[in-house]
Amino acid sequence: MTTASKTAAPSKPAAPSKPAAPARLLTQVATERQTGALVVGGHPGGAVYVLEGRVIYAESPAAPGVGELLTASGRLAGRTWQTALDQGTSTARVGRLLVEQGHLTQGELELCVLGATYDAAYFALSAADAQVEFLDGAMHWLGPIAHIDPAAVNREVRRRAKMLDAIFPDQRVDAAVVTPATRAPRERVSLTALQWELLVHADGQRTPADLALLLGRAGFATIAELRRLAALGLLELPEVRAEAPEFVRLPQARGTAVDVNRPRISADNVGTATVPVISGVRPAAPGPPTAPRSRPLPATPLSPPPSSAPPSSAPPSSASPSATLSTPALPTSASPSLALPTSGQPSLVAPTSGPPSLVPPTSGPPSLAPPTSAPPTSATSSSTPSAHGLSARETSLQASSTQALPSRARSSSAPPASAPTVPGPPAPAALTEETSANGTVYRPPRLARRKPGAKLPKEVVGEPPQIHPGTDEVLLKRIRTALRALR
């Protein structure tokens, strides 16, 4: 061994990376009596270190190395191993240091290196075709402990592959995540110690390589035992699991929960719709025969919102010239702000009250007269087609505004500031929908979609907040007693 070969750093790559059989390349390297590392790419890949044509070490991600074997078993403290690494890596004398310092016997070290080398060689060399690269002059930091004939290594690799197939011919067991069967397929099961360890530590996440590393067991022994377990029917085979990849169950809209992006039903096909009309369904105007013409897709009752939304093409019917102004129109956004203070939950409407200049958010709820908002609702009864054109976000807003409306009637808290600033027509556009809906098919969605932890709007939660507290309480009490008496 020359001093140059002792350096841990590879000097130069002799052979460029190319797909080849790693075993054949190892033989070639051995016959030329080269020194270096045969780095095998792919999965799991690995590296075989050769010193003057003899294999001295091999490593692979799928096989625990000497350090993992010694520390995972508790034979060496992690500190001891780390110290030896620190001292000996640069000079490639880690193995010798451990023996010289009395942490290991020569026999233990040799046996450990031999076992780890054959183990890793199986993973590195068993691939029939892989990216192989020879780093000339590379030396492993462990140092030359064992000197193995490459032919014996190759022979052993082939033999191990055959052994595995004799146990259970399914290669997927080697790499796939280990999942123990939930129920043993027989009454009595007897396990070896290693099998027991594997089953105990298999959590449905760990691959065989993970388990080998965790337990400090040889990678090949792990795979062999796993194949035995698979042959016993104690493991779920990968293909079984692959058929049910349903990690996340997608939410399904059901009942009264309304999707914000719910499909809408156009006015024309509501009458003919065979689907039972539920709350998510879009309003059918009492009688706007103009609507069908504007529909690009009149036949499909459940056309997706974006395609079915024809704000620009909507007929400029009666009361809503402003609705044709297109979606983000300030008027429509302003109308919910009318209802906002009463709804008691500003968070719902706050983002939509677009231009803050128009609608002062600070406009305190209890300031002024309600009647300002009343007229628009009554005035706008027939402009539903235009309402179809509203974007999904706005419809959800309207939902909240419809919630707010009843309460608004009771509590006189409409913002005075917003009413004057908002141009007249817009408010109708938004409100029409619900007024017409109240009369006919359309039942407004109960709630807009909320975040998981968000509070319900107060008017939905229960009693309307503090309206004439004294008298209402009395009234309620009377009603309750009357009901009780009836029962």
Binding site: S73, V99, C112, G115, E156, A218
Partner: protein, 126 residues
């Protein structure tokens, strides 16, 4: 400082020893060999050795229910010789067995067994 080769030399020094090897019994691979082997094939002998050890360790018939009542050695006698298998218990994970083939007439079973016990212990003793 006894290494693997030294251990095998010692094993060959046992009276009547014909061949010796250290076998990884999970894979049936001879980690190290010296001397002769039955049918002069160390690898086949190792594979057979591994089968025997596997049978003894994995079947509940021979495995004691008592904790730490581990398998120590297996002795197979033939008309022409003794085959002694001594399990080498290392702390780290290596399932190894020391195998010695003795000539029937020159070998002494009791002595060989004692010597192998010492060898196996020395191999891994600190």
């Amino acid at each position: 400082m006894p290494g693997v080769d030294h251990c095998l030399q010692e094993a060959m020094a046992i009276p009547g020893a014909v061949g010796a090897s250290i076998v990884d019994y999970t894979t049936g691979f001879p980690v190290a060999t010296t001397g002769a082997a039955p049918n002069s094939d160390h690898e086949a002998a190792a594979a057979g050795t591994a089968d025997v050890v596997q049978a003894a360790t994995s079947r509940s018939l021979f495995v004691s229910a008592l904790p730490h009542d581990l398998l120590e050695d297996l002795i197979i006698t033939t008309a022409g010789g003794y085959h002694l298998l001594r399990l080498v218990h290392t702390d780290f994970d290596s399932r190894l067995v020391l195998y010695v083939w003795l000539d029937r007439h020159q070998g002494n079973l009791a002595v060989a067994r004692r010597r192998m016990q010492k060898l196996a212990d020395d191999l891994v003793a600190t």
